[in-house]
C-alpha cells in the first residue's frame, strides 16, 4: 500500500469530481481506513456547514420576505394601494352601517343592552344614622356626652392629644335641647386623650368627622348626618314594631308642679336589638323640665325589640309621655 494521502491530495479528492481525480488516490482513500475516515470527517463537516448555512439563510430570508409582503403587498403602485385601502375601509364601514339598520339587529341590541332611566327628582338627603371619625390613634376613644348639634358641620369633634392644662368651657344657665347620651364619645376626656382608630377626623373607629363607629359627620353607628345607627321605621315591609314590656312613670318636675303645668311630651327613639331605647329625641317639647323627666323615665323602659323577617333589628318608635296633675 502506498503511504497516506497528503492534505492537498485529500482536498483534490473533495474538490474535483470523483471521476476526474486520479484513480490511485481514490483507491487509496477507499482502502486506507485512516485516510478514509479523515475524508469522511471533512466531507461530513462541509455537509453540515452547507446544511446549516442553508437553513439559517432560508429562515432569515423567510422572515424578511414575510415583512416585505406585509408592507409591500401593494408597493407596485401608490394609486392602486390608495384605491384598495379606500375600497376595503369603505366596504367595512358600509357593512357596519347596513347591519345597524336591520330590524332584527336593532331588536337584539335593545334586548342585550339594559336601558336605565335616570333619576330626575331632586336629591333628598336622608337624615339618619351617623358617626365615625378618629385620627388613627391606637387607643379607643373615651365614651361620654355628645357635643352640641348643628345643621351644618364646620369643625368635627376631636380631642387635642397635647393638653397642657385643664380647659373649662364657659357656660350660661338656660334650657337647651337635651340629647340622649348614646355613650359613644367624650371630647372632654382627660386621661389618654385619643380620637380613636378611625380616620378622617372626628372621634371613634369610623370615618369622616363624626363620633362613633359609623361613617359620616353624625354620631353613632350609622352613616351620614344625625344620630344613631340606621333604624327601621314601623310599617316598612316585614318590620314588626317593638312592644313595651316594662314602663316607668315619669316624675313631675318642681317647676311644673308649681305652675300646674300639664300636657304630653312626644319623643322619638330607636329601640335597639336588646330592647333598650336609644337615640331619644324630643319631637314635641312641653318645657319646665318635664322634657328631661320624660326622657329620664323613658330611658328606663324596656321593649321587646322590633323584628324584620324574624330577626331583631333597631326600629324607630314614637312615644307620648303624658303629665297629668291629679
Amino acid at each position: 500500500m502506498t503511504k497516506h494521502l497528503t492534505s492537498d491530495e485529500l482536498a483534490s479528492l473533495i474538490i474535483e469530481e470523483r471521476g476526474a481525480s486520479s484513480k490511485s488516490r481514490t483507491e487509496h482513500a477507499q482502502a486506507c481506513a485512516s485516510c478514509g475516515a479523515e475524508l469522511a470527517q471533512l466531507e461530513s463537516a462541509l455537509g453540515e456547514f452547507r446544511g446549516g448555512m442553508r437553513n439559517w439563510s432560508g429562515q432569515a430570508f423567510r422572515q424578511r420576505e414575510f415583512v416585505r409582503q406585509l408592507d409591500g403587498g401593494f408597493a407596485t403602485s401608490a394609486w392602486k394601494a390608495g384605491l384598495s385601502s379606500l375600497l376595503i375601509n369603505g366596504t367595512m364601514l358600509a357593512m357596519i352601517v347596513y347591519v345597524g339598520t336591520l330590524k332584527p339587529v336593532q331588536i337584539a341590541v335593545q334586548q342585550a343592552v339594559t336601558l336605565m332611566a335616570p333619576k330626575l327628582e331632586p336629591f333628598k338627603p336622608e337624615n339618619k344614622g351617623g358617626g365615625g371619625g378618629g385620627a388613627r390613634q391606637p387607643l379607643e376613644a373615651k365614651k361620654a356626652d355628645l357635643p352640641k348639634t348643628a345643621p351644618r358641620q364646620f369643625t368635627p369633634p376631636r380631642v387635642d392629644p397635647v393638653q397642657s392644662r385643664l380647659q373649662m368651657e364657659p357656660t350660661i344657665i338656660a334650657d337647651m335641647p337635651v340629647l340622649a347620651s348614646t355613650n359613644v364619645g367624650d371630647i372632654k376626656g382627660l386621661n389618654f386623650p385619643s380620637n380613636g382608630p378611625g380616620n378622617g377626623g372626628g372621634i371613634g373607629a369610623g370615618c369622616c368627622a363624626g363620633i362613633g363607629p359609623g361613617n359620616g359627620p353624625g354620631a353613632g353607628d350609622g352613616t351620614k348626618g344625625g344620630i344613631g345607627g340606621e333604624a327601621y321605621r314601623p310599617g316598612t315591609k316585614g318590620v314588626i314594631g317593638p312592644i313595651l314590656l316594662h314602663k316607668v312613670e315619669p316624675q313631675y318636675s318642681d317647676d311644673a308642679r308649681k305652675a300646674k303645668w300639664q300636657g304630653t311630651v312626644r319623643l322619638q327613639l330607636v329601640v335597639d336589638t336588646n330592647g333598650k331605647p336609644t337615640s331619644i329625641q324630643i319631637v314635641t317639647p312641653l318645657g319646665l323640665g318635664l322634657d328631661t323627666k320624660a326622657i329620664e323615665a323613658v330611658e328606663q323602659w324596656l321593649f321587646k325589640p322590633g323584628t324584620k323577617d324574624g330577626k331583631a333589628v333597631p326600629v324607630i318608635a314614637v312615644v307620648d309621655v303624658s303629665f297629668r296633675l291629679l
Partner: protein
C-alpha cells in the same frame, strides 16, 4: 437554466421581478455567509439587484443569469470587506453572535444529542476556519461548498483562472482540516 438575456429580451419589469424572485434567496445566502451580518447582507442583496437592473442593458448573455448575479454579489462582498476594515469592532461583535446562530441551524435530522453536539462542533469549526481565510479564499470556498458551483462557474464569477480557484480551495480546505483536528483531538492522533 434561465439566462438573463432571455429575461431582458422582453425588457419588462415583471420579468426582472421573476429574476429577483428566483435568485434572491441564493444571493442573500451567499452574501450572508460572506459578510456574516444579516442586516448588511439584506442591504447588499438589495444593492445587487439594483446594480443588475441598472446594468441589464450591458449584459451580453454569455453566462447564465445566476453566474452574472453572483459576480455582482461577489464584487459587492469584496467592496464591503474593503470598506469595513475600519469597522473592526462592530464586525467582531456581530460575527460573534452569528457563529452561535449558524450552529443552531444544523440540518434537523433525527439524531442523538451527542451526534447533534458533534455536528454543531463541526459547523463551528468550519465557520471559524472560513472566517480565518482571506476574502478571496472565502468567496471561492463559499461558492464551492455552500452554493455547489462548478469550478468553471466559480472562475467565471470571480474572474480567476480555474487553477487559481483550485489553489484557493486547497488552502481553504487545509484551514478547515486544521481547525477540525484542532477541535477534535481524535483526528490529530490518527494523523500521527
Amino acid at each position: 437554466m434561465d439566462t438573463v438575456a432571455q429575461h431582458f429580451t422582453l425588457q419588462g419589469v415583471s420579468d426582472f421581478d421573476s429574476l429577483v424572485r428566483q435568485h434572491r434567496p441564493r444571493v442573500f445566502r451567499f452574501l450572508l455567509a460572506s459578510v456574516r451580518d444579516r442586516e448588511v447582507a439584506e442591504n447588499l442583496t438589495q444593492d445587487c439587484f439594483i446594480r443588475a437592473y441598472k446594468a441589464r442593458a450591458g449584459f451580453r448573455g454569455d453566462a447564465s443569469g445566476a453566474t452574472w448575479l453572483m459576480q455582482i454579489a461577489a464584487n459587492l462582498a469584496r467592496d464591503h470587506h474593503g470598506s469595513s476594515r475600519l469597522k473592526f469592532w462592530r464586525r467582531t461583535v456581530n460575527s460573534g453572535v452569528d457563529v452561535a446562530d449558524l450552529s443552531d441551524w444544523i440540518p434537523d435530522k433525527q439524531r442523538s444529542p451527542e451526534a447533534e453536539a458533534a455536528a454543531k462542533e463541526q459547523v463551528r469549526a468550519v465557520w471559524s476556519a472560513a472566517q480565518s481565510l482571506s476574502e478571496r479564499q472565502r468567496t471561492v470556498f463559499l461558492l464551492r461548498f455552500v452554493e455547489d458551483m462548478e469550478l468553471l462557474e466559480i472562475a467565471a464569477v470571480t474572474g480567476m483562472k480555474e487553477g487559481t480557484v483550485k489553489a484557493h480551495l486547497f488552502r481553504a480546505l487545509n484551514a478547515v482540516r486544521a481547525e477540525l483536528s484542532h477541535d477534535l483531538p481524535s483526528a490529530q492522533e490518527k494523523k500521527q
